[in-house]
Amino acid sequence: MTVRVQAAAFDTGAELNAFVKDRTDVGAVVSFTGVVRDTDGTLHQMEIEHYPGMTERAIAEIVTQVQSRWALADVLVIHRHGILAVGAPIMMVATASAHRADAFAAADYLMDYLKSRAPFWKKETTADGTAWVAPKDEDEAALKRW
């Protein structure tokens, strides 16, 4: 298991390659990357605040949950904080398993929980000023799937 919470940018492709390098017991690798999206061409930047200490604890707990529910060879979580440019990766998860069903379900679950249970808050800056991103009802509802 690797969990990194960092201000620095990361290279999604390089991280994905390193994640399964030299392994022969893995048949299925799923990755999810969250990217700063400019919905209507007005976003200047995104800023992510987090709660140092609790963030790492909350993510470790979510990863422990997925490892107990699915047969996983490895799990990777990287989440940035600080100021991010449009188009930049915000975070990624990757799951490695013998079979694809476990890898898909674990990545999906990780994302649902990281979204609503890890202490990160997004603030968007547009020409109109700054606004905290509101949680979506569907994100809380998604947790009930599991």
Binding site: G34, I48, E49, H50, Y51, G53, M54, R57, A58, H79, I90, M91, M111, L114, K115, S116, R117, A118, P119, F120, W121, K122, K123, W132, V133, A134, P135, E140
Partner: protein
Amino acid sequence: MNVMYFAWVRERIGLPQEEVQTEAVTVADLVAELTAREDRYAAAFADTSALRVALDQELSDFDAPLAGVREVAFFPPMTGG
């Protein structure tokens, strides 16, 4: 007790954390005590249904007792991922 504020709660109150001397028994008692202090606290805590609370870095709720707790954090629902 160390009390921390994040995101718009931090912005409304105007500071990221402070040391609070309190006899509050529950989180709700602490919220009532802070709300009574100044308008900026009242503004931040106006609708606690829009807030979350963590006790010693674990998500908790407003009915929870504060006995033994060293760090309380208030913040809006998370928007990670």
